[in-house]
């Protein structure tokens, strides 16, 4: 539990800074520091067990089906990294309090920082590889947020985006690699995977796994050729650069390579790729670092170079090299974080970090200057500082390494890289802190408050102490971590300053001398370099991104070009192509005996075909097309009757009525005819697509209908259980309200949402352009009498009868054809006829039902019925039923499913009425005579204040021709 808490604590704590910033910046910083300190304390509690060589574990099931467990483990290596992350985090929190200015939103900064901290600790403590990837991506995201912290700076936004693209893409590759690795190793748990080295190295998937994992590690740790994002990430505030982009996050790639060292290292491919990339990165980045005038850019490239150094050591694959790698991670984190903070102090105090405008700062800010010089000397590898120790170990390893038959090239390049490292380290010292005091600084610098230099001082103290007293101070920790990396193969080496005059010491001396010579010749070399061509990583990156975006746009514009017809044609053609390719072989005639053709069936068939073709041919005349379409709907309804589906027939019939009424209302305000504008070529194309679709569907359905069920149908269960389990004999209704009640609940919710959307679209018609068009809408009346007396009288007499029928259908629905859906539609039709016959205003004035509330009530009742089962400790929507004796009615069966069906009923009535009543309201809006009572109404129409209906005749406008539209 404690383990998970270490990783979760920063996430939980991330809510504190934004809340506490109102209490002041000190409180905010203190809270952040307290969270970090608590996590660190929890980690240190585990220290005794870890140093005894135990592996502490904690695991919680999360998505076991997907192999995802929230499982954590803590061994020496994880402890080493977690300690670095939390300890340096504490220093960074202190430093940032004084670094950020009053205008910077500090709450947000600390929240992001804590998010990052939690994610980073999560990476190093994860046991499950999927969990590791999740934390891995979270560090990319929090890094994105922190680089872009100063949102107003374009460099910040660009740098953030570049970092996200590169590390995010690497994270995807890593996910693929780890999935393959887990498959080969047979487990998602790292602790298990690490014991399966033979299986992994012997697998034919080894190379893909290696390449994918390394793609993740190299992008994260900025290895060549993915190194370019790190310098651009320096647009972040300096505490972020010191923490994420030097001490911790960029080391996640190194951590991963160290973590998987036992299963992946030791092969030829590992050595060639990892050691080669590391060496190349170390050399190239060190060379570039010399010439960077921006102090943070200099340090950024130096960071890339040192990451390359550790990568190279891990690539060598020997126990000693792994020990050196771990040791250098520690040393680099201490001196580089200190250096970044000094660069931040210089920037903060002198208002510039351009080396060309600085110099002589040691006299003005002696504390900062001394600390910066000590850290720089460690970076250059000068004894007795800690950088010297790990660099000696590195050179020792490099000197007897031969890379792929290149002779002495490998050691020579390593020494060259060390030379460049000396040169840029001394440049940081001499060009910034030494030399005469100048009088043209943008701002006269002096030492900052102690809160800013104290964290630096602590780190520099570590640099010196580890250098002088390496074995007592750092020895146990480094060996512990190295043993975890190498799975116990690390040598029992002691860390010490003086090894005697070794080849490595000689090489170090050569590098120091050559580096100083290089710096002495700085001016001429800069001019020489300026004259040569250099690749511009940022421009290349942006050109690549731009090219990808242009390509994607070209493809989507070709298909998706604002012309719906073309888009639909493309989509349909694509669907048909896929369907034909995949379904071609499946179409044929099966064994199932067919039904004989009945004469009436043939007649219906001919009617449907004729009607459908008529609609296709005469669709320009919209009213005709609509009426013929409803004929097709009726034939569909009869088809359902024929083939034993009375419920469907009833539903289809009532939906057909409602839909036709709705379309008629809509057609009132649309042009009555479609213009003939399609070219013969387009019609030909459309007929071809339609014909292929129709033939395909026919073939498919024919194949289905002539074959028997391939596997036994689950309906056997429904038929058998309908009466004993669901308490109803109408199986279709029992399925709807009981067996698959959850589906039905979803469906009535969707229906309710659709109705609300329709209401929203129609309600706002009464504003803006639309209402202008409605007002000026005029067309000749379709009939002399808008509300024919016969119709009005007939519908009013019919209403109670129709409502009775609806209620009857509802109640019998559980046992006979009917139910909530059908009853709702029937009642809806009964009510809507009133609107049609007597007009919107008349009907509206007499309806007291709020249709929105009715929909809400329906969904609520249905959901509450489902929730009710919880009270009896049954799963959601378990139904129950019983028989009750009701006076007059006799024995009545009441099921909770009935209550659910009531919800369905209410929703359907509400939806139908909300849609049609609002459509009718639009119609009322355009009727100049609205409000004039019909002949048989003796009561005057109520005034509709909220509608502001004009009773005066609209301004006459020229009648619009229909083809004008």
């Amino acid at each position: 539990m404690n383990l998970a808490l270490i990783a979760l604590l920063p996430f939980l704590g991330a809510v504190l800074p934004p809340l506490l910033i109102r209490s002041g910046r000190n409180v905010c910083a203190l809270a952040t520091g307290a969270v970090t300190a608590l996590a660190l304390a929890l980690l240190l509690v585990q220290a005794p067990a870890v140093f005894r060589g135990e592996v502490v574990r904690a695991s919680f099931p999360w998505l076991p089906q997907a192999g995802l467990e929230a499982s954590f483990f803590l061994d020496g290596f994880g402890f080493f990294f977690a300690f670095l992350i939390l300890a340096i985090g504490l220093l960074i929190v202190t430093y940032a309090r004084f670094y950020l200015s009053r205008e910077d939103p500090m709450g947000r900064f600390y929240a992001f920082l804590l998010l990052f901290q939690g994610a980073m600790v999560g990476i190093v403590l994860s046991d499950n590889v999927l969990l590791l990837v999740i934390f891995w991506e979270l560090t990319s995201l929090s890094s994105f947020l922190l680089i872009g912290y100063w949102r107003h700076l374009p460099e910040g936004r660009q740098g953030a985006r570049m970092a996200l693209v590169v590390t995010g893409a690497g994270g995807l590759a890593l996910l693929a690699g780890l999935l393959l690795l887990a498959q080969v190793a047979g487990s998602y748990e790292l602790t298990t995977i690490l014991t399966r080295a033979e299986a992994v190295k012997g697998s034919e998937l080894y190379l893909p796994i290696l390449l994918l994992v390394l793609a993740g590690a190299f992008t994260k740790s900025a290895q060549f050729p993915f190194h370019f994002w790190l310098p651009h990430a320096m647009a972040a505030p300096t505490p972020v650069s010191a923490y994420l982009h030097s001490a911790t996050m960029v080391k996640a790639g190194l951590f991963l390579m160290g973590r998987l060292w036992p299963v992946l290292s030791g092969t030829e491919a590992w050595f060639l790729i990892v050691a080669g990339t590391g060496l190349l990165t170390m050399l190239i980045a060190a060379w570039i670092a010399i010439f960077k005038d921006d102090l943070k850019a200099l340090l950024a490239f130096s960071t890339v170079s040192h990451l390359g150094l550790v990568t190279m050591l891990l690539g060598l694959g020997t126990g000693t090299a792994a020990l050196a790698a771990v040791f250098h991670v520690l040393n680099h984190a201490s001196f580089k974080a200190a250096l970044f903070m000094t660069a931040g102090i210089v920037d903060h105090e002198a208002h510039t970090r351009d080396a060309r405008r600085l110099g002589g700062l040691l006299h003005l800010m002696p504390i900062t200057g001394t600390l910066a010089i000590l850290a720089s000397l460690s970076m250059a590898g000068i004894p007795p500082l800690n950088g010297f120790l790990s660099k000696e170990l590195m050179l020792e390893e490099a000197l007897h390494t031969e890379w792929g038959g290149t002779g002495r090239l490998f050691p020579i390049l390593a020494v060259l890289a060390a030379t460049c490292s000396v040169a840029y380290s001394f440049r940081y010292v001499t060009h910034v802190f030494l030399g005469p005091v100048r009088d043209d600084y943008p701002h006269r610098p002096h030492d900052p408050p102690a809160g800013m230099w104290l964290p630096v001082a602590l780190l520099v103290a570590a640099v010196v102490l580890i250098g002088i007293l390496a074995e007592p101070v750092a020895g146990p920790l480094v060996r512990l971590a190295a043993e975890a990396v190498t799975a116990g193969a690390a040598p029992e080496a002691t860390l010490k300053l003086w090894h005697g005059v070794t080849p490595a010491l000689v090489a170090s001396g050569v590098a120091l001398f050559a580096g100083l010579v290089l710096l002495a010749a700085f001016g001429p070399i800069v001019r020489l370099r300026e004259a040569l061509w250099r690749p511009e990583a940022k421009r290349m990156f942006e050109a690549t991104v731009e090219a990808v975006a242009t390509g994607a746009r070209a493809v989507s514009e070709a298909i998706h070009d604002e012309r719906l017809q073309r888009m639909v044609a493309w989509t349909l053609a694509a669907i048909l192509a896929v369907g034909l390719v995949t379904g071609w072989g499946g179409i044929g005639t099966g064994e199932r005996p067919g039904l004989p053709v009945a004469p009436l069936g043939l007649l219906l068939w001919a009617g449907a075909i004729a009607a459908a073709l008529a609609v296709a041919l005469f669709h320009h005349q919209r009213l005709l097309a609509l009426i013929v379409t409803s004929v097709v709907g009726l034939i569909v309804s009869l088809t359902f009757v024929w083939f034993s589906a009375p419920d469907l027939a009833l539903t289809q019939l009532s939906v057909e009525i409602v839909t036709t009424v709705l379309l008629l209302l809509a057609l009132n305000y649309l042009p009555r005819e479609s213009p003939r504008e399609s070219t013969p070529a387009r019609r030909g194309r459309d007929v071809a697509i339609a014909a292929v679709a129709g033939l395909g569907v026919t073939g498919l359905l024919w194949a289905i209908l002539t074959s028997d069920f391939a596997i036994p149908t689950i309906s056997t269960y429904h038929l058998a259980e309908s009466k004993p389990g669901g308490g109803g004999t109408n199986v279709v209704n029992v399925i709807l309200v009981d067996f698959r009640g959850y589906d039905t609940l979803g469906e009535i919710i969707v229906l309710g949402i659709a109705a609300l959307a329709i209401f929203a679209v129609l309600d706002s018609t009464f504003r803006g352009t639309a209402v202008q068009r409605l007002r000026t809408w005029s067309h000749e009346p379709e009939a002399a009498d808008r509300h024919p007396m016969m119709l009005v009288v007939a519908t009013r007499i019919m209403l109670p009868l129709a409502l009775m029928v609806g209620i009857y259908i509802f109640f019998r629905g559980h046992n006979q054809p009917g139910g909530g859906f059908i009853a709702g539609l029937v009642v809806g039709v009964a009510l809507i006829v009133q609107y049609m016959a007597s007009g919107w205003a008349w009907a509206r004035a007499r309806t007291r039902i709020d249709y929105h509330a009715l929909i809400g009530f329906g969904v609520f009742v249905a959901t509450a019925t489902g929730v009710g089962s919880w009270l009896f400790d049954r799963p959601f929507l378990t139904s129950n039923y019983g028989y009750f004796h009701v006076p007059l009615l006799g024995e009545v069966e009441l099921a909770t499913a009935m209550l659910f069906d009531l919800g369905v009923f209410s929703t359907v009535v509400g939806v139908v009425m909300l849609v049609l009543a609002n459509m009718a309201r639009v119609a009322a809006r355009a009727e100049p005579q609205t409000g004039v009572p019909t002949a048989m109404d003796s009561v005057p129409e109520p005034r509709l204040a909220d509608e502001r209906i004009t009773t005066t005749a609209p301004v006459p406008v020229p009648e619009r021709t229909r083809q004008e539209a």
């Binding site: 044609a569 349909l572 296709a616 809509a666 042009p671 026919t698 149908t713 038929l719 199986v731 849609v915």
Partner: protein, 114 residues
Amino acid sequence: MEFLVASAVGVLTAVGVYLCLRGRTFPVVLGLSFLSYAVNVFLFATGRLVVGRPPIIDPAAPGYTDPLPQALVLTAIVISFGMTALVVVLALRAFLEAGSDHVDGREPGAEGRR
């Protein structure tokens, strides 16, 4: 009968697809209605064609047709009403706003292409 149903669904599909490819909103709405008919009958028919055996439990019944596709299609019919209603209302509103009932929201050849 199987061939009649299969071919009729094919014709309904073809007419639906053809109408969906028209340039004005109203035929497209009708086309969607046709596609709804076709899809609903198609899904219903996957329970195979059975005459005179409705899924109403009755001791005297000789057997029952498959009730599950019926239940699924019943809700599908109601949902397709919701969909048709939404589309036609959008079409109406678009016409009232833009003054054109072309599916692209403007008359072909009119100004305003981006």
